[in-house]
Symmetry: C2
Subunit: 325 residues, 2 copies
Protein backbone atom coordinates (compact mmCIF):
# COMPACT_ATOMS: atom_id res chain seq x y z
CA UNK A 1 0.00 0.00 0.00
CA UNK A 2 1.24 3.51 -0.84
CA UNK A 3 2.60 5.59 2.05
CA UNK A 4 2.59 9.33 2.63
CA UNK A 5 6.28 9.24 1.63
CA UNK A 6 5.34 7.85 -1.83
CA UNK A 7 2.81 10.64 -2.28
CA UNK A 8 5.35 13.31 -1.33
CA UNK A 9 7.94 11.84 -3.69
CA UNK A 10 5.52 11.67 -6.61
CA UNK A 11 4.22 15.22 -6.01
CA UNK A 12 7.77 16.53 -5.53
CA UNK A 13 7.05 18.08 -2.14
CA UNK A 14 7.90 17.34 1.49
CA UNK A 15 5.93 14.96 3.73
CA UNK A 16 4.85 17.88 5.94
CA UNK A 17 3.28 19.59 2.92
CA UNK A 18 1.28 16.45 2.06
CA UNK A 19 0.16 16.17 5.67
CA UNK A 20 -0.94 19.84 5.74
CA UNK A 21 -2.81 19.43 2.45
CA UNK A 22 -4.66 16.33 3.66
CA UNK A 23 -5.48 17.76 7.06
CA UNK A 24 -6.48 21.13 5.58
CA UNK A 25 -4.12 23.06 7.88
CA UNK A 26 -1.66 25.83 6.92
CA UNK A 27 -1.25 27.56 3.56
CA UNK A 28 -0.58 25.51 0.43
CA UNK A 29 -0.80 26.92 -3.12
CA UNK A 30 -3.56 25.60 -5.38
CA UNK A 31 -0.93 24.28 -7.80
CA UNK A 32 0.80 22.22 -5.05
CA UNK A 33 -2.51 21.00 -3.71
CA UNK A 34 -3.49 19.82 -7.22
CA UNK A 35 -0.20 17.91 -7.61
CA UNK A 36 -0.66 16.25 -4.23
CA UNK A 37 -4.25 15.25 -4.96
CA UNK A 38 -3.20 13.79 -8.31
CA UNK A 39 -0.50 11.74 -6.59
CA UNK A 40 -3.01 10.57 -3.96
CA UNK A 41 -5.44 9.45 -6.70
CA UNK A 42 -2.77 7.81 -8.85
CA UNK A 43 -1.22 5.86 -5.98
CA UNK A 44 -4.61 5.05 -4.43
CA UNK A 45 -3.16 6.37 -1.19
CA UNK A 46 -5.32 5.93 1.90
CA UNK A 47 -4.25 7.95 4.90
CA UNK A 48 -3.50 5.88 7.97
CA UNK A 49 -6.20 6.97 10.34
CA UNK A 50 -4.01 6.12 13.32
CA UNK A 51 -1.59 8.89 12.26
CA UNK A 52 -4.41 11.30 11.55
CA UNK A 53 -5.99 10.57 14.91
CA UNK A 54 -2.76 11.27 16.72
CA UNK A 55 -2.37 14.51 14.75
CA UNK A 56 -5.86 15.64 15.76
CA UNK A 57 -5.59 14.03 19.21
CA UNK A 58 -8.92 12.28 18.71
CA UNK A 59 -9.90 8.67 18.13
CA UNK A 60 -13.30 9.33 16.55
CA UNK A 61 -14.70 6.69 18.89
CA UNK A 62 -17.35 7.02 21.58
CA UNK A 63 -17.88 4.17 24.03
CA UNK A 64 -21.29 2.96 25.18
CA UNK A 65 -21.10 1.19 28.50
CA UNK A 66 -24.00 -1.22 29.00
CA UNK A 67 -24.90 -3.62 31.80
CA UNK A 68 -25.91 -6.37 29.33
CA UNK A 69 -25.96 -5.99 25.55
CA UNK A 70 -28.19 -9.04 25.17
CA UNK A 71 -30.97 -7.34 27.13
CA UNK A 72 -33.51 -6.17 24.53
CA UNK A 73 -33.70 -2.67 25.97
CA UNK A 74 -29.96 -2.18 25.71
CA UNK A 75 -29.67 -3.77 22.27
CA UNK A 76 -32.34 -1.35 20.98
CA UNK A 77 -30.63 1.59 22.67
CA UNK A 78 -27.17 0.54 21.45
CA UNK A 79 -28.45 0.37 17.87
CA UNK A 80 -30.05 3.81 18.18
CA UNK A 81 -26.91 5.30 19.74
CA UNK A 82 -24.71 3.82 17.04
CA UNK A 83 -27.00 5.34 14.38
CA UNK A 84 -26.86 8.78 16.03
CA UNK A 85 -23.09 8.68 16.53
CA UNK A 86 -22.67 7.72 12.88
CA UNK A 87 -24.55 10.88 11.83
CA UNK A 88 -21.99 12.91 13.79
CA UNK A 89 -19.06 11.01 12.27
CA UNK A 90 -18.26 8.96 15.36
CA UNK A 91 -17.88 5.21 15.70
CA UNK A 92 -19.41 3.28 18.58
CA UNK A 93 -17.40 0.97 20.80
CA UNK A 94 -19.25 -1.50 22.99
CA UNK A 95 -18.30 -1.70 26.63
CA UNK A 96 -20.35 -4.53 28.11
CA UNK A 97 -19.58 -4.32 31.80
CA UNK A 98 -20.97 -7.79 32.52
CA UNK A 99 -21.38 -6.77 36.19
CA UNK A 100 -17.61 -6.72 36.70
CA UNK A 101 -16.05 -3.76 38.40
CA UNK A 102 -12.72 -4.57 36.74
CA UNK A 103 -14.29 -4.16 33.30
CA UNK A 104 -15.90 -0.87 34.26
CA UNK A 105 -12.58 0.45 35.52
CA UNK A 106 -10.83 -0.71 32.39
CA UNK A 107 -13.27 1.17 30.15
CA UNK A 108 -12.80 4.32 32.23
CA UNK A 109 -9.05 3.88 31.87
CA UNK A 110 -9.50 3.62 28.10
CA UNK A 111 -11.35 6.91 28.13
CA UNK A 112 -8.41 8.46 29.95
CA UNK A 113 -5.89 7.00 27.53
CA UNK A 114 -7.69 8.59 24.52
CA UNK A 115 -8.93 5.26 23.17
CA UNK A 116 -12.33 6.96 23.13
CA UNK A 117 -13.16 10.63 22.83
CA UNK A 118 -16.22 10.30 25.04
CA UNK A 119 -18.38 7.87 26.95
CA UNK A 120 -22.10 7.25 27.27
CA UNK A 121 -22.76 5.13 30.35
CA UNK A 122 -25.89 3.16 31.17
CA UNK A 123 -24.50 1.33 34.19
CA UNK A 124 -24.29 1.92 37.91
CA UNK A 125 -20.89 3.14 38.98
CA UNK A 126 -19.29 0.27 40.86
CA UNK A 127 -15.77 1.61 41.11
CA UNK A 128 -14.75 3.99 43.87
CA UNK A 129 -12.61 5.87 41.30
CA UNK A 130 -13.52 9.57 41.38
CA UNK A 131 -14.95 10.13 37.88
CA UNK A 132 -14.80 13.91 38.28
CA UNK A 133 -11.00 13.62 38.00
CA UNK A 134 -11.25 12.08 34.52
CA UNK A 135 -11.96 15.42 32.83
CA UNK A 136 -13.26 13.74 29.69
CA UNK A 137 -16.74 13.89 28.12
CA UNK A 138 -19.18 11.56 29.91
CA UNK A 139 -22.96 11.33 29.80
CA UNK A 140 -25.03 8.85 31.77
CA UNK A 141 -28.33 7.30 30.82
CA UNK A 142 -30.63 6.64 33.77
CA UNK A 143 -27.76 6.47 36.21
CA UNK A 144 -26.40 8.88 38.77
CA UNK A 145 -22.64 9.42 38.52
CA UNK A 146 -22.55 12.55 40.64
CA UNK A 147 -23.42 16.16 39.99
CA UNK A 148 -20.63 16.76 37.45
CA UNK A 149 -21.98 14.20 34.97
CA UNK A 150 -25.04 15.06 32.84
CA UNK A 151 -27.81 12.48 33.14
CA UNK A 152 -30.49 11.70 30.58
CA UNK A 153 -33.50 9.65 31.55
CA UNK A 154 -37.11 8.94 30.72
CA UNK A 155 -39.90 10.72 32.53
CA UNK A 156 -40.28 7.88 35.01
CA UNK A 157 -42.65 9.86 37.22
CA UNK A 158 -45.02 10.16 34.27
CA UNK A 159 -44.46 6.45 33.54
CA UNK A 160 -45.53 5.56 37.08
CA UNK A 161 -48.60 7.81 36.74
CA UNK A 162 -49.67 6.28 33.41
CA UNK A 163 -49.24 2.73 34.72
CA UNK A 164 -51.13 3.52 37.93
CA UNK A 165 -53.97 5.13 35.95
CA UNK A 166 -54.28 2.09 33.66
CA UNK A 167 -54.41 -0.31 36.62
CA UNK A 168 -56.95 1.89 38.45
CA UNK A 169 -59.14 2.13 35.33
CA UNK A 170 -59.04 -1.66 35.11
CA UNK A 171 -60.38 -1.82 38.68
CA UNK A 172 -57.32 -3.46 40.28
CA UNK A 173 -57.37 -3.80 44.07
CA UNK A 174 -54.11 -5.65 44.72
CA UNK A 175 -51.04 -5.00 42.60
CA UNK A 176 -47.71 -6.80 42.54
CA UNK A 177 -44.74 -4.75 41.39
CA UNK A 178 -41.26 -6.03 40.66
CA UNK A 179 -38.83 -3.30 41.63
CA UNK A 180 -35.07 -2.99 42.13
CA UNK A 181 -33.87 -2.48 45.71
CA UNK A 182 -35.82 0.21 47.48
CA UNK A 183 -32.81 2.23 48.69
CA UNK A 184 -31.48 3.03 45.21
CA UNK A 185 -31.50 6.70 44.21
CA UNK A 186 -31.39 5.92 40.47
CA UNK A 187 -33.79 7.98 38.36
CA UNK A 188 -35.79 4.95 37.21
CA UNK A 189 -36.83 4.20 40.80
CA UNK A 190 -39.31 7.07 40.52
CA UNK A 191 -41.71 5.03 38.41
CA UNK A 192 -42.07 2.44 41.17
CA UNK A 193 -42.40 5.01 43.96
CA UNK A 194 -44.97 7.02 41.96
CA UNK A 195 -47.03 3.95 41.05
CA UNK A 196 -47.07 2.76 44.64
CA UNK A 197 -48.01 6.18 46.03
CA UNK A 198 -50.91 6.74 43.60
CA UNK A 199 -52.29 3.23 44.02
CA UNK A 200 -52.15 3.44 47.84
CA UNK A 201 -53.90 6.83 47.72
CA UNK A 202 -56.72 5.06 45.90
CA UNK A 203 -56.88 2.27 48.44
CA UNK A 204 -55.11 -0.29 46.29
CA UNK A 205 -52.76 -2.66 48.06
CA UNK A 206 -49.24 -2.82 46.60
CA UNK A 207 -46.91 -5.78 47.13
CA UNK A 208 -43.26 -5.14 46.25
CA UNK A 209 -40.93 -7.87 45.07
CA UNK A 210 -37.32 -6.70 45.14
CA UNK A 211 -35.35 -7.88 42.14
CA UNK A 212 -31.93 -6.80 43.42
CA UNK A 213 -29.52 -4.17 42.17
CA UNK A 214 -27.96 -4.74 38.77
CA UNK A 215 -29.95 -7.94 38.31
CA UNK A 216 -31.00 -7.73 34.70
CA UNK A 217 -31.11 -9.96 31.66
CA UNK A 218 -33.19 -12.93 30.57
CA UNK A 219 -32.01 -15.37 33.24
CA UNK A 220 -32.59 -13.04 36.21
CA UNK A 221 -35.78 -11.46 34.87
CA UNK A 222 -37.37 -14.85 34.13
CA UNK A 223 -36.24 -16.41 37.41
CA UNK A 224 -37.67 -13.63 39.60
CA UNK A 225 -41.09 -14.12 37.99
CA UNK A 226 -40.93 -17.89 38.31
CA UNK A 227 -39.97 -17.95 42.00
CA UNK A 228 -42.90 -15.62 42.72
CA UNK A 229 -45.44 -17.51 40.61
CA UNK A 230 -47.56 -18.27 43.70
CA UNK A 231 -48.50 -14.56 43.93
CA UNK A 232 -50.27 -14.57 40.56
CA UNK A 233 -53.48 -16.03 42.04
CA UNK A 234 -53.49 -13.49 44.86
CA UNK A 235 -53.27 -10.25 42.87
CA UNK A 236 -55.22 -8.66 40.02
CA UNK A 237 -52.48 -6.38 38.62
CA UNK A 238 -48.75 -6.56 37.83
CA UNK A 239 -46.18 -3.87 37.03
CA UNK A 240 -42.73 -5.12 35.95
CA UNK A 241 -40.00 -4.78 33.32
CA UNK A 242 -40.80 -6.33 29.93
CA UNK A 243 -39.14 -9.73 30.37
CA UNK A 244 -40.51 -10.27 33.87
CA UNK A 245 -43.97 -9.10 32.77
CA UNK A 246 -43.85 -11.46 29.76
CA UNK A 247 -42.85 -14.34 32.04
CA UNK A 248 -45.78 -13.54 34.37
CA UNK A 249 -48.03 -13.69 31.32
CA UNK A 250 -46.68 -17.14 30.44
CA UNK A 251 -47.08 -18.33 34.06
CA UNK A 252 -50.68 -17.03 34.09
CA UNK A 253 -51.43 -19.01 30.91
CA UNK A 254 -49.85 -22.10 32.47
CA UNK A 255 -52.01 -21.76 35.58
CA UNK A 256 -55.22 -21.04 33.70
CA UNK A 257 -55.39 -17.45 34.97
CA UNK A 258 -57.08 -15.34 32.29
CA UNK A 259 -55.31 -12.13 31.19
CA UNK A 260 -56.69 -9.44 31.31
CA UNK A 261 -59.97 -10.73 32.80
CA UNK A 262 -58.50 -11.97 36.09
CA UNK A 263 -55.04 -10.43 35.97
CA UNK A 264 -53.85 -7.16 34.39
CA UNK A 265 -50.22 -6.84 33.36
CA UNK A 266 -48.40 -3.64 32.40
CA UNK A 267 -44.68 -3.45 31.66
CA UNK A 268 -42.29 -0.56 31.73
CA UNK A 269 -40.11 -0.49 28.64
CA UNK A 270 -42.35 -1.21 25.63
CA UNK A 271 -39.78 -3.20 23.65
CA UNK A 272 -40.52 -4.72 20.22
CA UNK A 273 -40.67 -8.29 21.55
CA UNK A 274 -43.85 -7.41 23.48
CA UNK A 275 -45.57 -7.45 20.08
CA UNK A 276 -45.08 -11.19 19.56
CA UNK A 277 -46.76 -12.08 22.86
CA UNK A 278 -50.38 -13.15 23.27
CA UNK A 279 -52.00 -10.91 24.25
CA UNK A 280 -49.64 -8.15 23.09
CA UNK A 281 -48.06 -6.58 26.18
CA UNK A 282 -49.53 -3.29 27.41
CA UNK A 283 -46.57 -1.06 28.31
CA UNK A 284 -45.16 2.28 29.25
CA UNK A 285 -42.91 2.89 26.27
CA UNK A 286 -39.55 4.58 26.67
CA UNK A 287 -38.67 6.63 23.59
CA UNK A 288 -35.42 4.90 22.64
CA UNK A 289 -34.60 6.99 19.52
CA UNK A 290 -35.12 10.22 21.48
CA UNK A 291 -33.00 8.95 24.39
CA UNK A 292 -30.22 8.06 21.95
CA UNK A 293 -30.39 11.49 20.30
CA UNK A 294 -30.15 13.27 23.65
CA UNK A 295 -27.24 11.10 24.87
CA UNK A 296 -25.28 11.58 21.66
CA UNK A 297 -25.95 15.32 21.50
CA UNK A 298 -24.82 15.73 25.09
CA UNK A 299 -21.55 13.85 24.56
CA UNK A 300 -20.84 15.51 21.18
CA UNK A 301 -21.36 18.98 22.68
CA UNK A 302 -18.83 18.18 25.39
CA UNK A 303 -16.35 16.80 22.82
CA UNK A 304 -16.74 19.97 20.75
CA UNK A 305 -16.03 21.85 23.95
CA UNK A 306 -18.06 24.79 22.76
CA UNK A 307 -21.52 24.40 24.17
CA UNK A 308 -22.94 23.95 27.64
CA UNK A 309 -24.78 20.73 28.37
CA UNK A 310 -27.76 20.69 30.77
CA UNK A 311 -27.13 18.44 33.77
CA UNK A 312 -30.48 16.66 33.43
CA UNK A 313 -32.68 15.94 30.44
CA UNK A 314 -36.00 14.15 30.74
CA UNK A 315 -37.48 12.29 27.79
CA UNK A 316 -41.23 11.74 27.38
CA UNK A 317 -42.78 8.29 27.80
CA UNK A 318 -46.06 7.10 26.33
CA UNK A 319 -48.79 4.57 27.04
CA UNK A 320 -48.69 1.69 24.58
CA UNK A 321 -52.03 -0.08 24.45
CA UNK A 322 -51.80 -3.86 24.19
CA UNK A 323 -54.11 -6.62 25.31
CA UNK A 324 -52.88 -7.32 28.87
CA UNK A 325 -54.65 -4.41 30.62
CA UNK B 1 -2.58 15.79 32.64
CA UNK B 2 1.13 14.87 32.67
CA UNK B 3 2.78 14.36 29.27
CA UNK B 4 5.65 12.13 28.24
CA UNK B 5 7.77 15.31 28.21
CA UNK B 6 7.06 15.85 31.93
CA UNK B 7 8.08 12.27 32.67
CA UNK B 8 11.34 12.68 30.71
CA UNK B 9 12.14 15.94 32.51
CA UNK B 10 11.48 14.49 35.96
CA UNK B 11 13.50 11.34 35.25
CA UNK B 12 16.31 13.39 33.70
CA UNK B 13 16.31 11.42 30.43
CA UNK B 14 15.21 12.01 26.85
CA UNK B 15 11.67 11.45 25.53
CA UNK B 16 12.88 8.59 23.34
CA UNK B 17 14.23 6.78 26.40
CA UNK B 18 10.87 7.09 28.17
CA UNK B 19 9.11 5.82 25.05
CA UNK B 20 11.47 2.81 24.80
CA UNK B 21 11.00 2.04 28.49
CA UNK B 22 7.20 2.15 28.24
CA UNK B 23 7.05 0.15 25.02
CA UNK B 24 9.65 -2.33 26.27
CA UNK B 25 11.86 -1.91 23.21
CA UNK B 26 15.64 -1.36 23.09
CA UNK B 27 18.13 -1.52 25.95
CA UNK B 28 17.63 0.64 29.03
CA UNK B 29 19.58 0.20 32.28
CA UNK B 30 17.68 -0.95 35.36
CA UNK B 31 18.60 2.29 37.12
CA UNK B 32 17.12 4.46 34.32
CA UNK B 33 14.03 2.29 34.12
CA UNK B 34 13.50 2.67 37.86
CA UNK B 35 13.80 6.48 37.61
CA UNK B 36 11.31 6.56 34.73
CA UNK B 37 8.79 4.34 36.50
CA UNK B 38 9.06 6.51 39.62
CA UNK B 39 8.37 9.61 37.53
CA UNK B 40 5.41 7.86 35.85
CA UNK B 41 3.94 6.96 39.24
CA UNK B 42 4.60 10.35 40.81
CA UNK B 43 3.07 12.30 37.92
CA UNK B 44 0.23 9.79 37.42
CA UNK B 45 1.22 9.74 33.76
CA UNK B 46 -1.06 7.78 31.41
CA UNK B 47 0.36 7.00 27.99
CA UNK B 48 -1.73 8.35 25.10
CA UNK B 49 -2.93 5.18 23.41
CA UNK B 50 -3.24 7.00 20.08
CA UNK B 51 0.54 7.44 20.03
CA UNK B 52 1.13 3.87 21.16
CA UNK B 53 -1.23 2.56 18.48
CA UNK B 54 0.60 4.46 15.75
CA UNK B 55 3.91 3.12 17.09
CA UNK B 56 2.60 -0.45 16.91
CA UNK B 57 0.51 0.19 13.79
CA UNK B 58 -2.53 -1.34 15.43
CA UNK B 59 -5.75 0.10 16.74
CA UNK B 60 -6.64 -2.77 19.08
CA UNK B 61 -10.15 -2.66 17.61
CA UNK B 62 -12.09 -5.34 15.74
CA UNK B 63 -15.30 -4.41 13.96
CA UNK B 64 -18.42 -6.56 13.97
CA UNK B 65 -20.64 -5.82 11.00
CA UNK B 66 -24.27 -6.74 11.66
CA UNK B 67 -27.45 -6.42 9.60
CA UNK B 68 -29.47 -5.23 12.62
CA UNK B 69 -28.16 -4.99 16.17
CA UNK B 70 -31.69 -4.88 17.59
CA UNK B 71 -32.40 -8.38 16.24
CA UNK B 72 -32.14 -10.70 19.25
CA UNK B 73 -29.87 -13.15 17.43
CA UNK B 74 -27.38 -10.43 16.59
CA UNK B 75 -27.54 -8.77 19.99
CA UNK B 76 -26.72 -12.14 21.60
CA UNK B 77 -23.92 -12.77 19.11
CA UNK B 78 -22.52 -9.23 19.48
CA UNK B 79 -22.37 -9.65 23.25
CA UNK B 80 -20.62 -13.00 22.91
CA UNK B 81 -18.14 -11.63 20.36
CA UNK B 82 -17.37 -8.60 22.52
CA UNK B 83 -16.67 -10.96 25.47
CA UNK B 84 -14.35 -13.13 23.37
CA UNK B 85 -12.50 -10.15 21.88
CA UNK B 86 -12.03 -8.74 25.37
CA UNK B 87 -10.27 -11.95 26.43
CA UNK B 88 -7.81 -11.41 23.57
CA UNK B 89 -7.28 -7.73 24.49
CA UNK B 90 -9.32 -6.31 21.62
CA UNK B 91 -12.17 -3.83 21.73
CA UNK B 92 -15.32 -4.32 19.68
CA UNK B 93 -16.66 -1.65 17.34
CA UNK B 94 -20.24 -1.98 16.12
CA UNK B 95 -20.88 -1.60 12.43
CA UNK B 96 -24.65 -1.76 11.98
CA UNK B 97 -25.07 -1.80 8.23
CA UNK B 98 -28.79 -0.93 8.44
CA UNK B 99 -29.24 -2.36 4.91
CA UNK B 100 -27.26 0.50 3.38
CA UNK B 101 -24.53 -0.26 0.89
CA UNK B 102 -22.91 3.08 1.67
CA UNK B 103 -22.49 2.10 5.32
CA UNK B 104 -21.03 -1.28 4.37
CA UNK B 105 -18.51 0.40 2.08
CA UNK B 106 -17.61 2.92 4.74
CA UNK B 107 -16.85 0.17 7.27
CA UNK B 108 -14.66 -1.63 4.74
CA UNK B 109 -12.86 1.68 4.10
CA UNK B 110 -12.28 1.99 7.85
CA UNK B 111 -10.70 -1.44 7.85
CA UNK B 112 -8.35 -0.27 5.09
CA UNK B 113 -7.47 2.93 6.93
CA UNK B 114 -6.38 0.98 10.06
CA UNK B 115 -9.31 2.17 12.15
CA UNK B 116 -9.80 -1.52 12.89
CA UNK B 117 -7.28 -4.33 12.89
CA UNK B 118 -9.81 -6.86 11.65
CA UNK B 119 -13.44 -7.41 10.79
CA UNK B 120 -16.06 -10.04 11.61
CA UNK B 121 -18.95 -9.73 9.15
CA UNK B 122 -22.44 -11.15 9.51
CA UNK B 123 -23.96 -9.39 6.51
CA UNK B 124 -24.41 -10.11 2.84
CA UNK B 125 -21.87 -8.29 0.71
CA UNK B 126 -23.81 -5.58 -1.12
CA UNK B 127 -20.88 -3.61 -2.50
CA UNK B 128 -19.20 -4.61 -5.77
CA UNK B 129 -15.87 -3.68 -4.16
CA UNK B 130 -13.42 -6.60 -4.51
CA UNK B 131 -12.82 -7.59 -0.88
CA UNK B 132 -9.83 -9.75 -1.82
CA UNK B 133 -7.92 -6.53 -2.55
CA UNK B 134 -8.33 -5.31 1.02
CA UNK B 135 -5.62 -7.65 2.37
CA UNK B 136 -6.78 -7.23 5.94
CA UNK B 137 -8.11 -9.85 8.39
CA UNK B 138 -11.77 -10.66 7.67
CA UNK B 139 -14.01 -13.51 8.85
CA UNK B 140 -17.64 -13.95 7.90
CA UNK B 141 -20.39 -15.51 9.93
CA UNK B 142 -23.01 -17.37 7.87
CA UNK B 143 -22.23 -15.33 4.77
CA UNK B 144 -20.31 -16.03 1.62
CA UNK B 145 -17.74 -13.35 0.74
CA UNK B 146 -15.79 -15.44 -1.73
CA UNK B 147 -13.23 -18.18 -1.40
CA UNK B 148 -10.56 -15.97 0.18
CA UNK B 149 -12.63 -15.16 3.26
CA UNK B 150 -13.03 -17.79 6.01
CA UNK B 151 -16.66 -18.49 6.85
CA UNK B 152 -18.03 -19.81 10.14
CA UNK B 153 -21.56 -21.10 10.33
CA UNK B 154 -23.87 -23.42 12.21
CA UNK B 155 -24.49 -26.95 11.01
CA UNK B 156 -27.64 -25.92 9.14
CA UNK B 157 -27.98 -29.29 7.43
CA UNK B 158 -28.22 -30.91 10.85
CA UNK B 159 -30.65 -28.16 11.90
CA UNK B 160 -32.92 -28.99 8.97
CA UNK B 161 -32.70 -32.71 9.83
CA UNK B 162 -33.57 -32.17 13.50
CA UNK B 163 -36.52 -29.91 12.65
CA UNK B 164 -37.82 -32.35 10.00
CA UNK B 165 -37.54 -35.24 12.46
CA UNK B 166 -39.49 -33.37 15.14
CA UNK B 167 -42.29 -32.45 12.70
CA UNK B 168 -42.42 -36.04 11.37
CA UNK B 169 -42.57 -37.47 14.89
CA UNK B 170 -45.47 -35.11 15.60
CA UNK B 171 -47.29 -36.58 12.62
CA UNK B 172 -47.37 -33.43 10.47
CA UNK B 173 -48.74 -33.79 6.93
CA UNK B 174 -48.57 -30.21 5.67
CA UNK B 175 -45.80 -27.84 6.75
CA UNK B 176 -45.38 -24.12 6.14
CA UNK B 177 -41.83 -22.85 6.11
CA UNK B 178 -40.72 -19.22 6.03
CA UNK B 179 -37.50 -19.07 4.04
CA UNK B 180 -35.32 -16.36 2.50
CA UNK B 181 -35.28 -16.25 -1.31
CA UNK B 182 -34.71 -19.66 -2.84
CA UNK B 183 -31.80 -18.67 -5.11
CA UNK B 184 -29.48 -17.56 -2.29
CA UNK B 185 -26.31 -19.63 -1.83
CA UNK B 186 -25.84 -18.54 1.78
CA UNK B 187 -24.94 -21.33 4.16
CA UNK B 188 -28.10 -20.94 6.23
CA UNK B 189 -30.27 -21.86 3.20
CA UNK B 190 -29.27 -25.47 3.76
CA UNK B 191 -31.62 -25.85 6.73
CA UNK B 192 -34.62 -24.98 4.55
CA UNK B 193 -33.54 -27.18 1.65
CA UNK B 194 -32.80 -30.10 3.97
CA UNK B 195 -36.10 -29.80 5.84
CA UNK B 196 -38.06 -29.64 2.60
CA UNK B 197 -36.26 -32.62 1.08
CA UNK B 198 -36.71 -34.88 4.10
CA UNK B 199 -40.36 -33.96 4.59
CA UNK B 200 -41.18 -34.52 0.90
CA UNK B 201 -39.42 -37.89 1.00
CA UNK B 202 -41.86 -38.81 3.78
CA UNK B 203 -44.88 -37.66 1.80
CA UNK B 204 -45.33 -34.41 3.71
CA UNK B 205 -46.41 -31.39 1.70
CA UNK B 206 -44.20 -28.29 2.15
CA UNK B 207 -45.41 -24.76 1.41
CA UNK B 208 -42.66 -22.13 1.14
CA UNK B 209 -43.22 -18.49 2.01
CA UNK B 210 -40.34 -16.35 0.77
CA UNK B 211 -39.37 -13.66 3.25
CA UNK B 212 -37.00 -11.79 0.94
CA UNK B 213 -33.25 -11.28 1.09
CA UNK B 214 -31.89 -9.21 3.96
CA UNK B 215 -35.37 -8.81 5.41
CA UNK B 216 -34.78 -9.23 9.09
CA UNK B 217 -35.79 -7.54 12.31
CA UNK B 218 -38.97 -7.28 14.35
CA UNK B 219 -41.01 -5.29 11.82
CA UNK B 220 -40.30 -7.55 8.84
CA UNK B 221 -40.43 -10.82 10.77
CA UNK B 222 -43.76 -9.96 12.40
CA UNK B 223 -45.30 -8.60 9.20
CA UNK B 224 -44.47 -11.70 7.11
CA UNK B 225 -46.29 -13.88 9.66
CA UNK B 226 -49.28 -11.55 9.86
CA UNK B 227 -49.84 -11.29 6.09
CA UNK B 228 -49.78 -15.09 5.89
CA UNK B 229 -52.07 -15.68 8.87
CA UNK B 230 -54.70 -17.33 6.63
CA UNK B 231 -52.35 -20.33 6.14
CA UNK B 232 -52.39 -21.25 9.84
CA UNK B 233 -55.69 -23.12 9.54
CA UNK B 234 -54.47 -25.03 6.50
CA UNK B 235 -51.24 -26.51 7.87
CA UNK B 236 -50.25 -28.60 10.88
CA UNK B 237 -46.58 -27.58 11.11
CA UNK B 238 -44.45 -24.42 10.87
CA UNK B 239 -40.71 -23.87 10.54
CA UNK B 240 -39.50 -20.26 10.79
CA UNK B 241 -37.02 -17.94 12.47
CA UNK B 242 -37.74 -17.16 16.13
CA UNK B 243 -39.64 -13.87 15.75
CA UNK B 244 -41.79 -15.14 12.87
CA UNK B 245 -42.45 -18.40 14.72
CA UNK B 246 -43.43 -16.48 17.87
CA UNK B 247 -45.79 -14.29 15.85
CA UNK B 248 -47.39 -17.41 14.32
CA UNK B 249 -47.89 -18.68 17.87
CA UNK B 250 -49.64 -15.42 18.82
CA UNK B 251 -51.80 -15.55 15.66
CA UNK B 252 -52.74 -19.16 16.43
CA UNK B 253 -53.84 -18.14 19.96
CA UNK B 254 -55.86 -15.27 18.48
CA UNK B 255 -57.63 -17.63 16.07
CA UNK B 256 -58.27 -20.30 18.67
CA UNK B 257 -55.89 -22.77 16.98
CA UNK B 258 -54.41 -24.98 19.69
CA UNK B 259 -50.61 -25.35 19.81
CA UNK B 260 -49.28 -28.04 19.68
CA UNK B 261 -52.51 -30.08 19.37
CA UNK B 262 -53.58 -28.67 16.01
CA UNK B 263 -50.44 -26.81 14.94
CA UNK B 264 -46.78 -27.62 15.64
CA UNK B 265 -44.24 -24.78 15.56
CA UNK B 266 -40.45 -25.11 15.54
CA UNK B 267 -38.06 -22.18 15.16
CA UNK B 268 -34.48 -22.04 14.02
CA UNK B 269 -32.39 -19.90 16.34
CA UNK B 270 -33.34 -20.81 19.92
CA UNK B 271 -32.97 -17.31 21.38
CA UNK B 272 -33.62 -16.52 25.06
CA UNK B 273 -36.91 -14.70 24.37
CA UNK B 274 -38.48 -18.01 23.27
CA UNK B 275 -38.51 -18.87 27.00
CA UNK B 276 -41.07 -16.18 27.88
CA UNK B 277 -43.60 -17.44 25.33
CA UNK B 278 -46.51 -19.73 26.09
CA UNK B 279 -45.91 -22.46 25.28
CA UNK B 280 -42.12 -22.09 25.35
CA UNK B 281 -40.86 -22.22 21.76
CA UNK B 282 -39.41 -25.51 20.53
CA UNK B 283 -36.28 -24.62 18.53
CA UNK B 284 -33.14 -25.63 16.78
CA UNK B 285 -30.59 -23.79 18.89
CA UNK B 286 -27.54 -22.20 17.35
CA UNK B 287 -24.58 -22.26 19.73
CA UNK B 288 -23.90 -18.52 20.01
CA UNK B 289 -20.94 -18.68 22.44
CA UNK B 290 -19.22 -21.31 20.26
CA UNK B 291 -19.85 -19.28 17.08
CA UNK B 292 -18.39 -16.19 18.77
CA UNK B 293 -15.33 -18.13 19.90
CA UNK B 294 -14.69 -19.48 16.40
CA UNK B 295 -15.14 -16.05 14.75
CA UNK B 296 -12.81 -14.33 17.20
CA UNK B 297 -10.18 -17.08 17.00
CA UNK B 298 -10.22 -16.90 13.21
CA UNK B 299 -9.77 -13.14 13.09
CA UNK B 300 -7.16 -13.09 15.88
CA UNK B 301 -5.11 -15.76 14.10
CA UNK B 302 -5.11 -13.66 10.94
CA UNK B 303 -4.14 -10.54 12.88
CA UNK B 304 -1.27 -12.43 14.53
CA UNK B 305 -0.26 -13.44 11.03
CA UNK B 306 1.25 -16.64 12.29
CA UNK B 307 -1.33 -19.35 11.97
CA UNK B 308 -3.43 -20.68 9.13
CA UNK B 309 -7.17 -20.34 9.37
CA UNK B 310 -9.50 -23.01 7.93
CA UNK B 311 -11.78 -21.59 5.21
CA UNK B 312 -14.91 -23.13 6.71
CA UNK B 313 -15.84 -24.02 10.25
CA UNK B 314 -19.14 -25.64 11.14
CA UNK B 315 -20.61 -25.29 14.62
CA UNK B 316 -22.98 -27.88 16.11
CA UNK B 317 -26.66 -27.11 16.63
CA UNK B 318 -29.00 -28.79 19.11
CA UNK B 319 -32.68 -29.58 19.54
CA UNK B 320 -34.23 -27.42 22.28
CA UNK B 321 -37.41 -28.98 23.57
CA UNK B 322 -40.21 -26.51 24.29
CA UNK B 323 -43.97 -26.84 24.26
CA UNK B 324 -44.83 -25.97 20.65
CA UNK B 325 -43.98 -29.34 19.05
Amino acid sequence: MASIRDVALKAGVGIGTVSRALNGTGYISEETKRKIMEAVAELDYRPNELAQNLYRNRSGVVGFMVPDLEHPFFSSLTKAIEMELYKHGYKCMICDVDRKQSREEEFLEMLQRNVMDGLIAGVDLMTDMDVSTIHRPIVTFDRNWGRMVPNIHSDHKRGGELAAQALLNAGCKRVLQFTPEISSDMSFMERYHTLEQILREHGVEVINIYTGKNQMGYDDDIRIAEVNANYLREVDGIFASDITAATCLRLAHQSGIRVPNQLHIISCDGLPFGRVLYPVLTSIRQNVPEIARACVNAVVKQMDGTRRVPMEQIIDVSFQKGGTV
